[in-house]
Subunit: 335 residues, 2 copies
């Protein structure tokens, strides 16, 4: 198996990507194509000892910045993200892993790879740590305007992902809304509710914003606008809370000693909340495997993203999604 | 000035409401109509020493439960919320304060009082603690389906509230979206962006979920579906974080000592995050003043909600909203 890794993405550039790739080939049975500005990638590679025979550097002379808009992204025809997506398209790689600018990766990979047969809208999905496990939220920003049938497809794709990757049976599907009762919601969710209730999915009904972390559902479906706001609110709360806590605590001598005593535990907690720990976000329903890591990723997160890409390919998630949607669309189930 | 206080609302029933009302009449120059099941309210009143000449008990034999659905609410024609709203409608009270079931208060007060002249949709607004101050988010759930012109009205009403109640000049208005650039957003926000940019408001453009707490905007407008999800995600994160922290910390001896040393500071922090501290949520654009406190309110929060209702009336927020919207709609500004 060959995984293309975008070496230019992320806040720390090639260093972290190269480190992560080296760790991955040491641990997993796969080859890595490191895509990026050759001179820069090679420098990091040599610095880290190089010599890994299962890593190949692929030159991509342009880099997409973390702050680049879609307009700039479109012009860079030799960017590492684009070259990586083309490797997947031409069957030279089985999957693309990038820690880059999420909007750019979504834009380019959809443009180059397109949607899986039967998929209306590939969705960006993310695992968040919840009580007792992990909850998959989708869409988190790839599709800001959705129809009820799109939400149903998200639910089906999320189900397949949780079955194949996390090994869940009959994952519980929740619909993000403003109240638990069926009558609660906007026009979009009310119609999606009916579709989901009529489907063979294990649909548990509406869930609320707080259930993103309550562990009530394994998969929560949402339009990409709401999902993105929900995710970014989380980021804001965590950041704000920690900075408030620091200010509150540092003003008091005893609290400060207390903080020092529990620092290691708080750090571990903070890490658990950092979603890069779980491999990354996935584009589900794309005609090709694409994993997007958090820009702040460290090398461990890069390695985890590569492992997720490997599992995605090995467990044939793409085929399972195609089957799930074919069964739904045609009304004829072969499963 | 006369404020009607729903004595039956909230998780703790009449006790907290009566305590808060007593504190309010001691501190502020106003009268309170305590609306609730007379025997229960009177018992609490007597227990607390009674005798406050500026409090009158108004009997409302039915109580709306915190979990009652709209169907149950509609049937209870003598509920404390309904009787309170009717007092406002009949000019026997200047404002209604309730710690009750938010959905029930929104439903009944809209039904009984209707919208202010020129207002399409009264909006539920809430002050959240942000870096450097408070940010008003609206709508947080009264209107799950919105049009661009509704979002513009929300912005105008929010502006008036922040000017009159918090004394801000030219409050910064942000539009909740999925990216800062004008091009980011769904169909609704893109059109709302254009309207806001063309208005005389101090519109700072799109903001993201994380800006709910960053202090970047004084007012953030959103459709009620997204606003409600954003708010409930916050609740979920805070709850989840504290329970994770407790588990993490209690497993370790030193961390436990550390936690005990900083407990008082953490409690203060938790209180700051509890939005009941800030008086409550307000229905803006209703033809009558209505403040909704958090169900977990203590007597201090009830008193604060009464003070907010008083300021709302004294500073003529309703008149200012009418003027603001009349200026906008007619294209003729008298201000």
């Amino acid at each position: 198996m060959k995984i293309a890794v975008d070496a230019m993405g992320g806040d720390f550039g090639p260093r972290i990507a190269v480190e992560g790739a080296l760790q991955a080939v040491r641990e997993f049975d796969l080859d890595i194509l490191l895509v990026g500005v050759e001179s820069l990638v090679k420098k990091e590679f040599d610095r880290l000892g190089g010599g890994a025979s299962r890593i190949t550097i692929i030159d991509a002379p342009e880099a997409v910045g973390m702050g680049d808009g879609i307009f700039a992204v479109r012009r860079k025809r030799r960017s590492s993200i684009r070259v990586g997506a083309e490797l997947v398209k031409n069957n030279r790689a089985d999957a693309l892993v990038s820690m880059g600018n999420t909007a750019a990766v979504v834009y380019i990979s959809r443009k180059i790879l397109g949607a899986l047969q039967g998929v209306n809208k590939p969705a960006l999905s993310l695992l968040v740590p919840s009580v007792g496990g992990l909850t998959l939220l989708l869409d988190v920003g790839a599709n800001v305007n959705c129809r009820p049938e799109d939400l149903e497809q998200f639910a089906r794709m999320g189900k397949v992902f949780m079955e194949q990757i996390l090994g869940l049976r009959e994952p519980r599907i929740g619909l993000m809304s403003v109240g638990e009762e069926e009558s609660k919601g906007n026009d979009l969710t009310k119609e999606a509710f009916e579709r989901l209730a009529a489907s063979p999915l294990n649909f548990i009904g509406n869930v609320e914003g707080k259930d993103l972390y309550s562990g009530k559902a394994d998969v929560i479906v949402s339009d990409g606008f709401t999902g993105n706001v929900a995710l970014k609110v989380t980021e804001g709360v965590v950041e704000h809370l920690f900075s408030m806590a620091r200010r509150e605590i540092m003003g008091n001598f005893f609290a400060k000693i207390g903080f020092l005593l529990m620092r290691r535990n708080l750090k571990r907690l903070y890490k658990r909340l950092d979603y890069a720990e779980y491999g990354g976000a996935q584009l589900l329903g794309l005609n090709g495997v694409c994993i997007i890591g958090h820009g702040r990723s460290n090398s461990l997160a890069v390695k985890n993203a590569v492992r997720l890409a490997r599992d995605f390919v090995a467990r044939r998630v793409q085929d399972r999604i195609r089957e799930e949607l074919a069964g739904a669309a045609g009304g004829v189930s072969l499963g």
